[in-house]
Amino acid sequence: MINSTDVSSFLTRKRARHGFDWTDVLSYAYLALGVLLVALPIFWMFMSSIKSPRALVENDPRLLPHEQLTTPSADGSRSHGVFLWTKPDGSQVDVGFIGPRGVNARVFEIGKPAEIIEVPRSQIVRKEVVQPRWENYSEPTIGSTQSRNFNFLRYFWNSTFVTVVATLLTLVVNAMAAFALSKYRFRGRDAMVIVIVSTLLIPPTVILVPLFITVSSLGMLNSLWGVIIPAIATPTGVFLLRQYMLTIPDELLEAARMDGASEWKIFWRIMLPLSLPALSVLAILSVMWRWNDFMWPLIVLTQSEVFTLQLGLSTFKGELNDNMHHLLAMTVLTLLPVTLVFVVLQKHITTGIANTGLK
């Protein structure tokens, strides 16, 4: 939100005592470089995702999506690419390209599809227009190709289901536990807290095999519930919420108790609303975890109809190269929800994560 009329004061307003010095120049240069490094690859991918399949196969290095003009053939049955022919006398004319013959090309002038002439290939250049190809997006989602090898809507629904349900369950289950651990005195409470905190240090990746066997013996393989349930009781969540709930004064709960509220009602009507800041941090974290989760779904889900977006993308990437235009477009669609959430809640997310030190 730099006021553009104010550029000079922006450049000079630093460090009132010393004026604008070379360290500031370096700082901004560093920051700008970093921003380029972050933004360029993503921007490049987005620009690539609206290019035509041919431009992608040919690795057109230009930033904008160029597409060759086409013109219908004499009988109208097929279309030919348009080239610009520079005649030896210097005049130029648009021609339709039929096919190569030796070093020459067989072409026809636009408007005269019947008169086929041969010109040296060195004299013609492709005639292109800048045109984004949005079909890359529409084909795999609502178009005819969607059911073939990348069922985007299915994956999107699966990912959304997992994210929403898992986040809601995570919030309720962990908030209940955090409430018990922060506001009650009972035997074994401190031991519970220690167990939970110490499991923060145990990486979930080292229990892959037994967890898989547990989930499979419960019949949850190839079920979204097999992805959702095992991770809803996160020590991170309990820890985060408990720390916050400890700051809520006990007198509030006692007032509610005097007011005849049951323990459940105290939890639901007093504790949860007052823990909203911590709950929203956990909600954001959970959405991030679940939407981006890859390894655990990779293990539990092996049939493509229950794939999440991340699984679908990685499988699709591994499969083939000639669908690059679809892969890139779908990658953009996958990062879009997260990006939107981030743009809207940016401040909340960064301060929330910075304050809790959790990801």
Partner: protein
């Protein structure tokens, strides 16, 4: 009838006993103040009555029914907390009606009671606001209102005025007094401020270290403190204590030789003392007068405080003990003067056992 009775009530947290056996009976409609220094257990006692803290041993009876095991919500009490404990995410109206809704009170009844409480406490305009948008005094009123709508048998107040500034405190004191007049309920009020206790209470319970030191009407506590602690705690400025030795016992009472020089007689009974016993003489500053010549003791004045309507002298006696004097009006005495003092009318003198601290009862 809502009476409250405590019988040998104790409370322990782990190994430490914080309430050491308290007996107390509170009548219907009484305004009782628990007063004592911080850490004396007065708040714990209140919370035990409320049901927020389980009783270790002993009985709590409300209307002659033992309520030790009855949950807080079902004892028919309401409490005003020190921090007000208003639900910050609810409007004032919701704060007031939350408790009634929990009790499944019919909706029209809830609205009637909320409106009545709002009118009584003059907060009709505040009903849709949140606690965060209220001033300290307004919050205080909402907290009281939340207790009022419950129409409880007994009101409990836990240092409710300690977060207010001096002026508001006086004002709220009056309001709570009016509320008691109007509702006629039993009220139990905890404070560490003896002025609040003196001005508001029908009866005061003075607590110290988990024990009940004295329970009685405010002026009884002032006039006849049962021991050194109560004598020192009630009254401002504090009562002066002078060490002395019993010289003679007679029909007029006890003759005491003060360490500071001079002799005074105190008209009191003399169980447990004999000539030679160490005693403490208690004299309130407001009962001491200047004597131009031949006073009981002489005071070398170190500080004079002139408040206009009254004056205070603080100084040292020949024995090294300090003494404060309150004089009506203004004084000419200045720092460095030595003045003669008359130590009160004999009937206003108090005599205590030096060891036990207990007061010797007056001659009747």
């Amino acid at each position: 009838m809502s009476t409250l009775e405590l019988k040998q009530v104790t409370k322990s947290f782990g190994a430490t006993q914080v309430i050491k056996g308290i007996d107390l009976a509170i009548n219907h409609g009484e305004f009782v103040v628990f007063v004592g220094p911080s850490g004396c257990g007065k708040s714990t006692l209140l919370r035990m009555i409320a049901g927020l803290e389980p009783v270790s041993t002993g009985e709590v009876r409300i209307d002659d029914a033992i309520v030790n095991e009855v949950p807080a919500a079902e004892r028919g009490l309401a409490m005003v907390f020190q921090s007000y404990a208003l639900y910050p995410h609810m409007s004032v109206r919701q704060n007031l009606s939350f408790g009634l809704e929990n009790l499944k009170t019919p909706k029209p009844e809830v609205e009637r009671r909320v409106a009545e409480a709002a009118r009584m406490l003059r907060m009709e305009q505040l009903l849709e606001r949140r606690p965060g948008q209220l001033s300290g005094g307004q919050r205080q009123r909402v907290a009281i209102g939340r207790a009022v709508v419950r129409e409880p048998k007994i009101f409990l107040f836990d240092e409710p005025l300690s977060n207010l500034d001096a002026e508001l405190r006086v004002q709220m004191r009056v309001e709570i007094g009016n509320l008691h007049q109007r509702l006629g309920n039993t009220m139990i009020y905890v404070t560490h401020d003896q002025v609040e206790a003196m001005t508001m209470a029908d009866r005061i319970a003075v607590l110290k270290d988990g024990r009940l030191e004295q329970f009685g009407r405010p002026l009884d506590l002032y006039n006849r403190p049962a021991n050194l602690f109560v004598a020192g705690f009630i009254g401002s400025p504090r009562m002066n204590f002078l060490n002395g030795t019993v010289k003679a016992l007679g029909s007029e009472g006890v003759k005491v030789a003060l360490d500071a020089g001079g002799e005074v007689s105190v008209p009191c009974q003399f169980q447990g003392i004999a000539p030679g016993s160490a005693v403490k003489l208690g004299v309130r500053p407001e009962h001491i007068s200047l004597k131009d010549a031949g006073g009981d003791v002489s005071l070398s004045v170190s500080i004079t405080e002139q408040l206009g309507g009254e004056s205070y002298l603080h100084g040292t006696l020949p024995s090294g003990e300090t003494l404060s004097v309150r004089l009506a009006g203004q004084t000419r005495v200045v720092r460095g003067d030595t003045v003669g003092l008359g130590l009160a009318d004999p009937a206003l003198r108090h005599l205590f056992h030096a060891e036990t601290g207990l007061a010797l009862p007056p001659l009747t």
